[in-house]
């Protein structure tokens, strides 16, 4: 059953099946497999069938949009008007969003059908999807292992064929890391490319939305629909959006690809390194020129990231106060008690840790030592990339240091969990686009390779990933239990 968005569009256009039929197929697969995987927090069956019916009418008129009739899922961090938007938290368990996120609105305007809202680490804080109020998500390749996070539900849903594509958000790797661990393709665009309006904020200078799909060609379609200037997001970019699909077929001959030596150093599983090297050989065969480069401040990216992300989250999450929406404690004795207990009950352990660290880092007397220092290192990390892009077109490395770990393996040690993000978080600090695509397996679990582009060079990332997917079939493989 697992199909690509491209195949679904062709099937709909040729009348091989209707949107209602394909939507019913996916809803049936969700009903069958979601109990084992827990990818979905909400399934919007009635809405999906209604949207699919409307899509079929449009298709019959012969004037479909980019995604007309294509079913897909949204991470439960995107506000969806009239539909529960929990952000994986007890705090928002009762929150029915009163408006649509811009990305959701644009995908709907392109004609897509919403199957439901996917599970995630609470407020996008986590690398394993074990921090959800709604329980952990299982990796479809081995259900004893994590799917990655924070967009674990979206990645697992695409990998298991419960949706042909899904949206995610990426603050430190939350699209690329679960894409890698679940064997699907995911892209985090340049900061400012996809509107953050209606995305529940975690780290506002880091957050970006993007798609998961089974191929780079499908990601190109989804990203096309999501991207572009939005006056409602004050950091939205007005840089023109490329035609991603049109540029897919351009060759990669002569393209200079840099391998940062810091991404292949200690900490990387050697079996995973060998898989990545095989993929590099393939790109070399396709005409790319491979060069060694250095990103000398890579080791600073984790401490820098966690200060910036936690400071910004402590500020952003102060809006959850039990007054206007969200969880409120029973019988507050006074206003302070209302704030403290509503927040204490509404947030889970990891969210509390991050709010506390962020509050500390921003408190009087510590601001310079933590937040200001981190912002200085942030510029040094960005400068590393800019220097590298003077001599290469693209940077390549592993997405993660190891394949999907077992559920529970790292839950007692927040720091070892944070180290999972070593190759992904520096892109968020620098605001650069990154794409993860499947390039093989270790122990039966998928290996992801990360492509890093210069600002607004998403088309090039998609083009290189597409070329690789023309000469390999890792992206076409599906976990047996869900094929």
């Amino acid at each position: 059953m697992p199909m690509t968005v491209t195949e679904i569009r062709q099937g709909l256009a040729s009348g091989q099946f209707s949107s209602v039929e394909i939507t019913r197929d996916y809803l049936q697969r969700i009903a069958q497999h979601n109990p084992a995987l827990n990818c979905f927090i909400s399934v919007t069956e009635d809405l999906a069938l209604q949207q699919a019916g409307a899509a079929d009418a449009l298709l019959a008129q012969g004037n479909p949009g980019l995604l007309t009739g294509v079913p897909l899922a949204h991470k439960d961090l995107f506000c969806t008007d009239g539909v529960k938007t929990s952000c994986g938290s007890r705090m928002l368990d009762n929150f029915i969003a009163p408006y649509d996120a811009t990305a959701v609105e644009r995908i709907r305007d392109a004609g897509a059908v919403m199957l439901g809202k996917t599970n995630m680490d609470e407020f996008a804080m986590g690398s394993s999807n074990e921090n959800s109020w709604y329980g952990n998500v299982a990796n479809p390749w081995n259900t004893a292992h994590v799917p990655g996070g924070s967009s674990g539900g979206s990645a697992a849903a695409v990998a298991a064929g419960l949706a042909p594509a899904a949206t995610g958000t990426d603050t430190g790797g939350s699209i690329r890391q679960p894409a890698a661990l679940c064997g699907v393709t995911g892209i985090k665009p340049t900061y400012g490319r996809v509107s953050r309006y209606g995305m529940i904020a975690f780290g506002s200078s880091l957050d970006q939305g993007g798609p998961f799909a089974r191929s780079a060609a499908d990601c190109a379609l989804l990203l096309q629909a999501m991207s572009g200037f939005d006056a409602r997001d004050s950091t939205s970019s007005d840089t023109p959006v490329d035609d991603y699909s049109a540029r897919l077929e351009q060759g990669i001959e002569g393209l200079k690809i840099g391998l940062p030596k810091e991404y292949f150093a200690e900490g990387l599983d050697s079996r995973l390194a060998r898989v990545i090297e095989t993929a590099i050989d393939e790109l070399r065969k396709q005409g790319a020129e491979i060069l060694d480069i250095s990103l000398p401040n890579t080791h600073l990216s984790i401490p820098t990231y966690y200060v910036v992300a936690m400071a910004e989250c402590s500020s952003n999450l102060s809006r959850f106060d039990g007054v206007r929406f969200g969880h409120r404690c029973e019988n507050p004795v006074d206003l302070e008690d209302l704030y403290k207990r509503s927040r204490g009950e509404g947030f889970g352990a990891e969210v509390k840790r991050r709010i506390l660290i962020g509050t500390y880092a921003l408190s009087a007397g510590y601001y310079d030592a933590y937040y200001l220092k981190a912002q200085q290192l942030r510029r040094m990390i960005k400068n590393d990339f800019q220097t590298a892009f003077d001599s290469v077109d693209l940077i390549l490395g592993p997405t993660t240091p190891e394949v999907a770990f077992k559920i529970g393996a790292k839950t007692d040690d927040p720091v070892s969990m944070y180290l999972q993000d070593i190759y992904t978080i520096s892109l968020n600090l620098a605001g650069l686009p990154g794409l993860s695509l499947p390039v093989g397996f270790v122990d039966g679990l998928p290996v992801g390779m990360q492509l890093i582009g210069n600002y607004f060079d998403e088309a090039r990332l998609l083009q290189v990933a597409h070329r690789y997917q023309q000469v390999s079939d890792w992206h076409l493989q599906a976990p047996e239990a869900f094929s």
Binding site: Y306, G326, P332, L356, Y360
Partner: protein, 95 residues
């Protein structure tokens, strides 16, 4: 940097976040280990480096001061925990 239990209590108060008294020690350990990780930043001399707050070095965009929002009070208050006569209710603040 090692935190003490009173530090954790005072940070939790600043964050208006209730934490159970029997969880304080656990937070002391977790937060101290995170701060130890963060201390790695001090290995580097960053004197004179201009702080980066927006990754694209972009500044806040301004727009004309026109009304762009419509009043949706009733819709927004449908999801509020406690409202009366169009107002949000909280415990008494002024005696």
């Amino acid at each position: 940097m090692t935190l003490k239990s009173d530090d954790v209590r005072s940070i939790a108060h600043l964050a208006r976040l209730h934490i159970e008294e029997d969880a304080v020690d656990h937070y002391v350990d977790d937060l101290s280990s995170i701060l130890a990780l963060v201390e790695q930043m001090n290995q580097v001399d960053s004197q004179g480096v201009e702080p980066l707050s927006n990754p694209l070095d972009a500044t806040q965009r301004l727009r004309d001061d026109n009304v762009t929002e419509v009043n949706q009070r009733d819709k927004f208050q449908q999801i509020a925990p406690d409202v009366a006569e169009g107002l949000y209710r909280v415990p008494r603040v002024i005696e």
